[in-house]
Amino acid sequence: AQSVTQPDIHITVSEGASLELRCNYSYGATPYLFWYVQSPGQGLQLLLKYFSGDTLVQGIKGFEAEFKRSQSSFNLRKPSVHWSDAAEYFCAVGQGSAGFQKLVFGTGTRLLVSP
């Protein structure tokens, strides 16, 4: 069965510093991969997605992610973190047939931004 691992429960980054959140997946075929962000008290918002093609994917709010098949990873990055980026981040892999997919989520990484 497909699974997603986010090894870091919490990460603290200084404002202005770079950020990398780790995500590893287990999936037999070419995966459909997603990163979502959840601000306190809110639902999940899609940051970016990968289906195929260019392995470096650009998303909203200045985020990007790189798909590395050899490492089964899809890490999220941002060159300069802002205080408003403090939130919980979820990586997910799509499973199912064409036209319909369920998502399997990781357990999330909570990002804290220090002044």
Partner: protein, 114 residues
């Protein structure tokens, strides 16, 4: 923009009550989902539906049922609420098209069972 609306942000109910959580989406999406979110466990799929009157069990369906009488509305029902169902509940919807359609989420309902 896709709008997924959950009827309540906060809800407090008593053990043994029948509880209804409502979700409405305005983008004519075929697929709808109910998740529960608990600290350290991420999101777990309770039920999903890919068409009106169709439903499929997710990973943790025990103690829950669902109803989809109209395409835009997907209801989660706790038949007899128990304290271990205290959680954040998230509804999502997605389009049935090419593979990899993202899911769009509501703001969640924080449910407390006393």
């Amino acid at each position: 923009d896709v709008k997924v609306t959950q009827s309540s942000r906060y809800l407090v109910k008593r053990t043994g009550e029948k509880v209804f959580l409502e979700c409405v989406q305005d983008m004519d999406h075929e697929n709808m989902f109910w998740y529960r979110q608990d600290p350290g466990l991420g999101l777990r799929l309770i039920y999903f539906s890919y068409d009106v009157k169709m439903k499929e069990k997710g990973d943790i369906p025990e103690g829950y049922s669902v109803s989809r009488e109209k395409k835009e509305r997907f209801s989660l029902i706790l038949e007899s609420a128990s304290t271990n169902q205290t959680s954040m509940y998230l509804c999502a919807s997605s389009h049935q098209g090419h593979s990899g359609q993202p899911q769009h989420f509501g703001d969640g309902t924080r449910l407390s069972i006393l």
